[in-house]
Each structure stands twice: as C-alpha cells, then as structure tokens.
Symmetry: C2
C-alpha cells in the first residue's frame, strides 16, 4: 500500500469512526429529549400562567422573569436579561361585527382587531360591505365602488402547496397591507379572512402595517366560517349592512427584555452559537405553538447539554426573544449588541414554526455551509430530517448583515395555521414527543456545529 | 457521435422527459388531493353515523352498505361485496374497576375489556392486586405470589424510539398474551397498562389471545393516568383490593363483507393493483385514524384517477377490509379469492397507520423492487417521502405467499397511540390536509406502478 493511500485510508477511517461516535451521541441526545418531561411541564406552566404575552403587557413581563428563573433552574452557567424598548399596543376584547340584511336577518361574526390597527370610533362604524378577492380587483373597482364601504378581503389560503408557509406568504399581504390599500379608495374599514386552512369559528389575528401617507382605517380578521357565511349572504343580498366596533390604542413605549442563558464554552467561550425562539405571543392565546415551543426548544438545548455532560467548545447561547410578533425589537437589539461587542456568532438557529414533528433545517447562508450540513445528512436520516437552502428566522434575521449563517428548524406545517394567532393555540394542542423531537434535532445540530464549525 | 452513444443519449433523454412528465402528473395528483373535501366529508359521515364498527356489529354492516354506495357515487367502474365470515364478540360497556385501600380510600379506575377477553362472573371479581413490569418478573414471583391475585402489568411504552410503532411492538405482548401468562400461575384476572405514550384518562383496548391449554381469565386495559395512580397506591399499600366487573360474550359467527371498488384497466384489466384500509374499528370509538382514514385513502385513489381522467393500464382495486382488528378474516378471504381465481396482483398497498402527515413507503418485497422504488425517490422528495424495506400491512399480508410485493404507507407516528383504540379516536382528531397528503401519496405511487410495473 502506498503511503498516500494509507494516509487516505486513515483519514477515511477517522471520518467513519467520527460519524459512528457522532451517531451514538446524537442517539443519546434524542433519547434524552424523548424521555424528558421538563420542557412539557415548563410549556404548560408558561401557557397557563402567562398566556397572552403581547410585548409590553404585564404577562410578557412576568414571562420574562419566569424564563430567567427557569433557565437558572435548568443549570445554565449564566442567565441575564437584555434590554429592548417595545411598543405597547392594547386591544379591548369582544369586538363586535354584526352583519344584517333586510332579506336574510342578522348574525354576529367572530372578528378580532389586527395587531396595531386603529379601533373604530367609540360608536363603531356602520356601512355596506363589498367582497374583494384581490388587490387587482380592488384597483379595478376603484373609488366609485369602494368609498364609504367596509372592504371584505376574502382571499383564501391556497391549498396547492405542500408547505403551508408558502400559502401564508401569498395571503399575508392582505392582512398586512389590506387596510391602507382599501383606504386609498376611501373605504371605512377592512375585514380580512383569517389566515387559516381550516373551517373554524375562531378568528386569527396578526400584525398589520399602515402606509403613513394614507388615512388609517380599522382592520379586523374574521373567522373562516364567518367569512364563508358573509360571502354567501353577499351573493343573496348585496346591500348587507355591517356594524363594526373595535377599541385599540397605543400606550407609551416600555422597557422590555430578551432572556438569555449561556452554557460557557470550554475552549473558545468568546465564540457563540445562538439558538432562540420568541417569548411574546398574541393577546388572544396561550402562544403554545407560536412560540412557547420555540422557547422550550432553545432552553432544551442547554438542558440536554448539561444533562448529558456535553461540554461545548464554544458558548451555547439560548435567547428567548421579545417582540417577534409586532416589531422584532428583541431580535434587532440582540443583533445590535453582538455587533457593538464585536462578538463572533458561529451560527444562529431559530425555532418558530410550531411544535409538530420536525422535518429538517433550512439554511440562509452560503453554498459551502449548505454543503457542510449535507455531509451530516446520514446522521439525521434516522430522524427523517433533510437540509435545504432557505429562510432562517425572523428574530435571527438581523444577524445576517454580520455574515452569520442562519438556520431555521423546519417543522411539519400542515396543522400550524389551524392554531397560529388564534385562541386555539393552547398547551393542549402540543404533543410532548413531537415537541421534543425538535429539541433533540436542534441540540444534535448544535453539537455538530460546535464540534466541527460551519 | 457514435451511434451507441446517440442511442444512450436518446434513452437518457427519454428518462428525463418521463420524469418531468411524471413529476407534473404527480403534482396534479397532490393538488387534486389537497383541494378536495370529499374524503373529509365521507370520513365525517362514516365516523358520526357508523362509529364502533367492530366486526359482526350492526354498525359494521351499515358501514359496509355505506362504503359500497360511497364508491358507486365516486364513479368506480365496478363495486361489489366480497363475503367473509367473522366472529362476533360483544362487550357490555361501563366496566367497573374499583380500587380500595383501608389506608388510602378508594377510586374507580377507567378500564375497558380487551378484545375477545372473557368477562368476570356476574358478580365480578374481588382480589388483591400485584404490579408486574415484565414476564420475567412474573415467572420469578411464580405461583406463590401470583395465585388468587389480579396481575397488573404496568409495562410502559418506551419513549426511546423515533417510530412509535417499535414501542408498540415491544409492549403489545403484555396485552396479547398477559392473561394466559398470568393464568399459568392462577391469577384471577389481568389489568394491562394502556398502550399509549401520553398521560390520559382514556383506556385503550385491542385484541388479546388465550392459550387454549390454559384457564381463561378476564383481561382489561387501564388508562395510563389510572395505571400511574394504581402504581403509586401500591407503593403505599400492598394490600390494595380491586373489584373488577366486565361482561363479554361471543354471539354466533356472522356473514360479513369486504367492500371492493375497481377502476378497470385499459390495457391489461386482468392485472391488478390492490390498495386498502380496514372498515372495522374497535367498539369504543369512531375509528377515524384507525382506520377510517385508510379507507378514505384507498377510495381517494379511485376518485383522483377518475377526476384527473387518468386511465390506468391495469385495474386499480380499492378494498375496504373487514375484521382487521380481531382475526383478519377479510384479508384472508381476499387472498384466498385472488388465489382461487389465479389473479395477478402486481402490488398491494395498505394504509393503516393513521391520518397524520405521510413520511414514506415501506416495502415487503425483494431487493429489485426496493431498487425500483428508489429510482422514483426524486419524484417524491417535494413531498418529503422516503422508501425503505419493511412491513406492508396486516390485511394485505396474506398475499405474501403469492409473491405479491406489499407496500405500507408510513405515516408520522408520534401521535398515533394518543388515539388508537381509545374513545378519542374521532373525526375531529383528523386534519384534512394531513389525510389528503396520504391520498395523494398513494395515488402517485400507484400511478407509477401502473405505468412502469414493479
């Protein structure tokens, strides 16, 4: 055997042994995750005690203190709060949307104000309603047909896609921009079909944005069942009246925090792997799938490392971000601080796609980083995971300009929009094992990134 | 260019074009499945009108007639019933399991008789209870400790596995054989921890078998929460008394049916691709995940072919099997008839693993068949599916001796045992899109098998 062959053979065998060793370590990580009930109990506690954690709210602040204490109990080496100023929008519950027809009678539809939308005046708004299925149609109808009316955007999420986030991407524009687009033609208010793929009586809220140049009009989401009823009624009576009443306002901006826990690196503690979810939620739910689970995933990475006595070379930093839902102030503050401190972030990982069975990782990075992940594919095949190029995450996105590779946990998305931003997003909708597969997946990938770099 | 190269190039390009064409057809199949609500409505109807479809029961017979009519409405070319004799075991509901302690008080545990178990005498059984975690422990304790007692098998399903069916495989032995094993040492009855990975108050039933040489004693499953409570109480009082009362019996064997629908092949109608689920369910649930969904999957293959005007070369035969849960008489009758008629079954596919997101296919066949499936892997990557060697299915298994390749649809198993054989297995637990991904997966694979053989 030539010496170069021998050398090659040794290298190859080293790789084989390393993969074997890594495969054993990863199996023990998954085993630990699947057998632990701690994150499930923590999620239960968070959801039941500090539901409706919209940034700036009392419950958000309580959740922050709880998160700090919880990470201390889990044995993180350092736990601290990182300041971030947040907006503080509040909504009076039990919005009214009464639909009445001289021909058909009347019914109350379930609606919820969209995040950061203005309310109606104290007396509410009464007006005719017009159904619109696209911005093109809105434009075509123009001021003549729209002025003085309530615009009902009945854009249905598209069932064609395998990944439901693509359907969400198509539809979210109506929720985010519908009010200002309709206000261009002097609409009085907008009602948006909830972003969900199921028939349900529960409306789904979410952030909206006003064009500052245009008159701000109230915006609500209507449940999909009520959207279908409203559409049916409109086919039978195009003179329908709607009475809409919502009450929202901004309180002064308030000081809030990201919650950070670190497992200190043994060799190069100044180099950091960030993993996070967001602690805030909408104000109509427990925020279990969105994104209590992501917080649990990120906390579990630390717990599992401690429990299995895995001593990382680099610092593993778990971040419970504040304010993903409205203005991403937590994510921005985090990126600003890493930049001002000139920190080296090896990679940033995020979980914000629910607590269902994980399917893989998407990387927002360069080709060689994707290639490196692909070499680890065999290690994740027993757990059904794949790697692909794609989106990292909302909270870690501000790190991109520092050149940090961003990695998102891809989770089975089929049921996500059954729950997201609606009152059904509760602890009971999360299955412990499915959630813990996500914990194991993140901990395993971080174990490899820590060992081999990215 | 040498002529052989040219020939090779043409072959290669043919393959490329074929894959492109197949990819488009498969996309249209999934699109059709994901947009259709028919199967979801059919599942709703089946579950709400003909729940508790244990073989031999009135509801099973009604479901058979409904299944026939439903397939006729879907446009199958031929629909018929195939005779099969079935056992007819019945259970009086509201079994009693009262646990009492002179020290701790008493509580009623939720139990359910295991399938085909004998009942207690009319007055019930009262006895001390002993907790056992394995057959080894039972043997070690022997007659001295066991005789006259109720044996409580508290074997917990193992969380270590990624696929929960492996944990089920480990634990099912206690449910199936626990009674006869305990009766060897003169136990009076057995209580089995329900086969589920969650904490729940709902007991999960399932088939059990007696060793005909050994005295038959009553067997029940206890909910996992009550199993934990019983175990805790036993630690504090090893003199616990249990009063157990169940009432079961066999009625005479009865004539039942598999329901069969065919889409006639255009070229070789005498060659058949079989796809099936089972129509029977346990007598405590709606049988939605187990296996109403499998029936819908199998029916959807025909509906999708008709709707997209896909004209198969071979006959596509959908079978709603009777009696998977107890004695698999339907599957056996089907195999007997294909054999006696000397039919050519190209492949048999089965869906009996719930209505969650599909993950792939497992083939019980030879290496070249697995290789052939693997060449189609790129076509299924957009839908996250893999192929592997493995189990085909209970109902199609009798076809194995005729050399038929058997293919099982692999479905995300994390939540399956939350529902299986318990009262929570209802229509509402099934998500339309997840179920329809299974329909699209089966229809796509059958499209390829029909076109290229296996």
């Amino acid at each position: 055997m030539k010496i170069t062959y021998l050398f090659g053979f040794i290298l190859l065998m080293n790789t084989v042994f390393a993969q074997k060793e890594d495969s054993i370590q990863i199996a023990s990580i998954y085993k630990n995750a699947l057998n632990s009930t701690i994150a499930h109990k923590n999620l239960n506690y968070l959801c039941k005690n500090y539901s409706e954690r919209l940034c700036g709210s009392e419950n958000a602040e309580k959740a922050i203190l709880w998160g700090k204490e919880a990470m201390q109990k889990l044995g993180f080496d350092t736990v601290y709060l990182q300041k971030t100023m947040v907006k503080h929008w509040v909504r009076e519950k039990n919005e009214i949307c009464n639909i009445s027809s001289t021909k058909l009678g009347q019914f109350n539809a379930n609606v919820i104000a969209l995040g950061e939308s203005v309310g109606t005046s104290g007396n509410g708004i009464e007006a005719n309603v017009i159904e619109i299925s696209s911005f093109e149609e809105l434009k075509k109808l123009g001021r003549e047909k729209i002025a003085g009316k309530i615009v009902f955007f009945n854009f249905k999420m598209n069932n064609d896609y395998f990944m439901t986030f693509h359907a969400y991407g198509d539809a979210a524009g109506y929720r985010v921009h519908g009010a200002s687009e309709a206000a261009k033609y002097d609409a009085k208010a907008v009602i948006i079909r909830s972003l969900s793929l199921i028939s349900s009586k529960n409306p789904h809220t979410g952030i909206m944005r006003y064009d500052e140049e245009i008159n701000k009009i109230p915006a609500v989401a209507i449940s999909t069942i009520d959207a279908d009823s409203l559409s049916t009624w409109l086919k039978n009576d195009n003179n329908l009246q709607i009475y809409l009443k919502t009450n929202t306002k901004f309180l002064p901006e308030t000081l809030s925090y990201n919650v950070i826990g670190e497992i200190r690196g043994e060799k190069t503690p100044e180099k950091i792997i960030t993993v996070g979810g967001h602690l805030d939620s909408w104000d109509n739910c427990e925020g279990a799938h969105d994104d209590g689970v992501g917080c649990m995933h990120a906390m579990e990475v630390g717990r599992i490392f401690k429990d299995l006595n895995i001593k990382p070379s680099n610092t593993i930093r778990t971040v419970l971000f504040m304010d993903e839902e409205t203005n991403q102030r937590g994510g921005k503050s985090y990126a600003e601080e890493t930049k001002s401190k000139n920190e080296t972030i090896i990679a940033a990982l995020e979980s914000d796609a629910g607590g269902f069975t994980p399917q893989g990782f998407s990387i927002d990075g360069n080709e060689s980083q994707l290639q490196k992940l692909q070499t680890w594919k065999p290690l994740f095949e027993p757990y059904g995971l794949f790697f692909k190029k794609g989106w990292g995450g909302v909270d870690i996105h501000p790190l991109k300009e520092q050149g940090v590779p961003l990695i998102g946990l891809i989770i089975d998305s089929q049921r996500y929009f059954d729950y997201q931003h609606s009152s059904t997003d509760v602890f009971e909708a999360v299955n412990r094992r499915q959630m813990q597969l996500g914990s194991g997946s993140l901990a395993s990938l971080i174990y490899l990134i820590d060992k081999y770099g990215l």
